[in-house]
């Protein structure tokens, strides 16, 4: 986020409000939550924001067709006589400031395929440095529109002690705290790695032979969003992926397995896959499996074709080549019955790749010690450089315990083509040889910028 935002908002709060509590350590303006966004009218978008913020708003106003002429006052009038004037300033198409006569609870800033949701702990009458989510290049997308959500005469302080709260859906969570106040089966969300950023899955695709450890044969950004009911069980799981890079000539498929989740635990009528801007289509579980396995892309090469000659036929791994937009995949998985965390497991669950060629389905490549699915070919274990031992739960390791895949829980720059991850990230070897005891943040420190792909 633009650095001016936090400071401006915090100073505005500090000057207006006195928030008192013995338990409170500090005042915090949360970073915006960036999520894939379904645009609609102002009321629709403010309702959509409540899924994240958990607070409902009576009034909403959308400023569409964002351009340089947006600067200035915008007056919203409503049938009940309520009015509000919102003034935009310092708009450069990416960042902007606003002030309003009636204080705001949430401002939604849409750009690219996602939106930033600015939720204010206390309603505020101005803010600065609002910005839409980063696009594939790692820079903020151009703002397409902004939607403002508020309640009349917003009180700067805490709700009065005699506040009457209701629980419209009778799920035990009052409407003011319920992200889904009209849905008794849903109350909140859980994110991984968080609501704004992506983690990264990085694969080598030569298994059972060792590769070159540039860990970019397939690089997939991911974010998991679990929707929870009042019993803290998961009702549905949204997996947002972006195919960020492909440094492989081999064509691979990308899939995810939910270990321990029976195939018939999935609700097929509601489970969908959305690719790029296409309409969602049904996402079936893979046949011939007892557990839930979803084949998300059967041919990564098809969706990441650059149309350029070698080496620019690679997708976002060679620095001298043109950049390509990542390929967005959104799997929306619904369960027949809510699952506990123990039943579902933890993100990123069990992602894997396999070669898209004849008899390639059995050649699955997973994260270290993650189990193969029932369709993996067990005769490949222990061949070439692989030293998997299913009897010991040992999978996808070399004799020296080297992996074929990594899970990075942070925004990450993958090694550029032909650059070993150990050279690109100087403390990767320290982390590995220490058994993870030191250099746990190897992926965000000591990066050799010359050896990683620059978006």
């Amino acid at each position: 986020m633009h650095p001016v935002h936090k400071g401006f908002a915090l100073s505005a709060l500090a000057g207006v409000f006195a928030i008192g509590s013995a338990a409170m350590a500090s005042s915090v303006i949360p970073e915006p939550v960036a999520i894939p966004w379904q645009s609609g009218n102002a009321a629709f978008e403010c309702q959509e924001a409540t899924y994240t913020t958990g607070v409902s708003y009576a009034y909403s106003f959308k400023i569409d067709n964002w351009n340089s002429a947006i600067d200035g006052p915008h007056t919203a009038t409503f049938g009940d006589g309520h009015t509000n004037t919102i003034t935009i300033s310092n708009n450069d198409g990416t960042y902007f400031n606003w002030t309003a006569l009636n204080q705001m609870g949430v401002v939604i800033v849409k750009g690219g395929k996602a939106a930033s949701i600015f939720e204010y702990e206390r309603p505020v009458s101005m803010d600065a440095g609002l910005v839409s989510p980063n696009n594939a290049s790692g820079k903020p997308a151009a703002v397409s529109h902004a939607t403002f959500c508020w309640n009349a005469n917003a009180d700067a302080g805490a709700p009065p002690p005699n506040l009457v709260v209701t629980d419209s859906d009778s799920d035990g969570i009052t409407d003011n705290l319920d992200a889904f106040p009209l849905d008794s089966e849903r109350v909140a969300r859980r994110f991984y790695p968080n609501g704004s950023d992506y983690g990264y899955l990085a694969f080598e695709d030569n298994w059972p032979k060792k590769g070159d450890f540039d860990m970019n044969d397939l690089v997939v950004a991911y974010r998991a969003m679990e929707t929870l009911n009042a019993r803290n069980e998961v009702t549905n799981l949204k997996l947002v992926y972006e195919i960020a890079a492909r440094g492989a000539a081999n064509d691979n498929a990308f899939a995810v397995h939910l270990p321990g989740v029976a195939r018939d635990a999935i609700n097929p009528a509601l489970t969908t896959l959305k690719i790029q801007d296409q309409a969602p289509v049904p996402l079936p579980t893979e046949s011939g499996q007892s557990e839930a396995v979803f084949i998300l892309i059967t041919s990564v090469n098809t969706v990441t074709k650059t149309g350029l000659k070698w080496p620019c036929g690679f997708f976002n791994t060679v620095n001298k080549c043109p950049r390509s937009e990542p390929v967005l995949l959104v799997a929306d998985i619904h369960f027949q019955r809510p699952l506990s965390r123990a039943q579902l497991g933890a993100a990123p669950y069990n992602p894997f790749i396999y070669p898209n060629r004849y008899a390639g389905r059995g050649q699955e490549i997973h994260l270290v010690d993650h189990p193969p699915t029932a369709k993996a070919n067990p005769s490949l274990f222990g061949t070439e450089d692989d030293r998997s031992n299913p009897a010991e739960g040992r999978y996808y390791r070399t004799a020296d315990n080297l992996p074929w895949a990594l899970d990075v829980p942070e925004t990450w720059r993958h090694p550029a083509e032909w650059n070993d991850v150990t050279n690109a990230y100087s403390t990767f070897a320290t982390w590995t040889s220490s058994g993870g005891m030191t250099a746990a943040n190897w992926y965000v420190s000591t990066v050799n910028q010359g050896l990683v792909f620059q978006p």
Partner: protein, 123 residues
């Protein structure tokens, strides 16, 4: 022209191949233990006890703290006695979380360290 292209391609392949082989020895030399699972996240037990009025529960929004601000991890709820017992999945390099408490008469922010592999707080 065709011969030149072929020569250039061959040279590029050989150069790239030898470079690749030279670098591959670096990860090959990494010493990893048989019990190292390359895990970058862990589940941290969380227990929070709040002093709340009777029959009121609170929502707890957990955030990770970054230099540029906060990132929402999940929202959970206490029981009516203000007690929450659960787990957070966190990247292993994080040392603390920020918790925004919302209840009918209260909104606070707590910064809680991960201590002895757990997050605990009591009022």
């Amino acid at each position: 022209m065709k011969r030149l292209n072929t020569t250039l391609l061959l040279a590029a392949l050989l150069t790239g191949g030898s470079y690749q082989a030279a670098l591959a020895t670096d990860t090959d030399e990494v010493e990893a233990g048989a019990d190292f699972r390359y895990e970058t996240a862990h589940l941290i037990p969380v227990e929070i006890k709040l002093a709340l009025p009777n029959d009121n529960l609170a929502s707890l929004s957990f955030y990770s703290q970054r230099e540029s601000g906060l990132r929402l991890l999940e929202t959970a709820f206490t029981d009516p006695l203000g007690h929450y017992l659960g787990q957070l999945q966190l990247p292993v390099h994080l040392s603390q979380v920020v918790v925004v408490v919302r209840a009918a008469n209260r909104q606070d922010t707590l910064t809680l360290p991960i201590s002895a592999g757990a997050i605990t707080y009591a009022e």
